[in-house]
Symmetry: C2
Subunit: 243 residues, 2 copies
């Protein structure tokens, strides 16, 4: 049985402050927990309720329904909860491949969905501005559908990174070269900005190429959701490689 202080600690991990302090985060539900167990991430603890039937390949410490309710970040706890160590971010600058750069993305669901998209297309790294929402936020972990086990964003000073990178930097804007008319190189960075304001003024000066998703001539839509925009661009970048 976990101690009261242990259940309280796990409960506190719903807040970014405590995730950063303890360098721990929570994963719930069999499917996600299995993905994280199969990854390189280091397990801190794993709990299941007495009534929950686990698959043969998972061992977990038994807890009462009430203890699970204390630790869980979900209204209806799925009965299996694991705590993993947040990995130490890779600070090497990329020189090969396609990499995503997120400038102030604020919705955790959007971030998790972008991590899942990156995992699908084999994008190995995502660099986030320090004020991008935390990827270990429960909503982001959930939206990533296990992909966070394989693609872990690096939070960094984007200006410093963009000043140093040798890769061409493509920025997603509402105006620019049509992605459909653009040839994308093998090795590149793609920056996407926040849901409300796009790429910030500090960052946009480092874009070597402004690109846009053209809209229909008759369209009155003002913008696209950030995950949808990222998907449309990433899909087009990989079209030739995966075709």
């Amino acid at each position: 049985m976990p101690s009261k202080s242990q259940t309280q600690l796990i409960r506190s991990l719903s807040q970014k402050k405590y995730r950063l302090q303890h360098r721990l985060f929570v994963v719930e539900g069999e499917k996600s927990v299995l993905e994280f167990l199969a990854s390189d991430l280091r397990l801190h603890a794993i709990y299941t309720t007495e009534s929950h039937s686990l698959p043969a390949n998972i061992e977990a410490e038994k807890v009462s329904q009430q203890q699970m309710q204390t630790m869980s970040q979900l209204k209806t706890p799925p009965g299996l909860l694991a705590v993993f160590h947040i990995p130490t971010p890779d600070t090497d600058l990329p020189t090969k491949g396609v990499h995503l750069v997120l400038d102030q993305v604020s919705d955790p669901g959007n971030l998790g969905t972008i991590i899942r998209l990156a995992d699908w297309y084999g994008i190995q790294s995502i660099y986030c501005s320090s004020d991008t929402v935390d990827a270990y936020n429960p909503k982001s972990v959930q939206a990533s559908m296990g992909s966070l086990a394989r693609v872990q964003p690096t939070y960094t000073d984007l200006i410093e990174m963009l000043q140093t990178t040798s890769l061409p930097v493509f920025g997603a804007f509402l105006h620019g070269t049509s992605i459909y008319a653009q040839d994308f190189p093998e090795d590149m960075l793609l920056i996407v900005g926040s849901e409300s304001h796009g790429i910030s003024s500090k960052v946009l000066q480092y874009c070597s190429q402004n690109i846009t998703i053209p809209r229909a001539a008759t369209s009155q839509a003002e913008s696209l959701n950030v995950t949808v925009a990222t998907a449309a661009i990433v899909s087009h970048i990989f079209a030739k490689r995966l075709g």
Copy 2:
């Protein structure tokens, strides 16, 4: 001042049952309300709190903070709330252009995001299976960011529609022809399925072509978010037209 029964009626519109019964739905916040006012949709009522300062081009009936709290579907009401009539769906079968068909999409945020995407690319119609989530759900209205003012899904019996259509039917699957190797015709239907189960077995037999978004050879991701998948495919369908 609205009567108590009027505020109660508006409150009830958070539930699908009452939206269908009254054929009314709620839009909140200046930006969205303005988009709907500029559309062809018929206004039923519009309210603002006494403390809220409205732009000159909007007239609204004043209500107390408490009345707004009763009517609003948001924790923090933005102070402007409009009620519109749900339009009568267009039941004509499309014969030209690209149209979306949604089979059992269940998350209102996903539906709203797809409506916004359709609006961007100039997709004029979206056909939804009767068990697809209601587009006039508050979360869907919000995620559509005003695009629901221009693109209104038609709920219909998909089987009947697919049996009758003269258009080629492309279905999005986890296996099929790569979208990057596929030539898409000018006029077509694109079916996407539910978040958990994809296209249902009843519907898949009507797909004349199964298409897929190829993943990286090294990828271990199981699937993509339905809005991300729709964005990647729609982007590719329109690449040549918008390039």
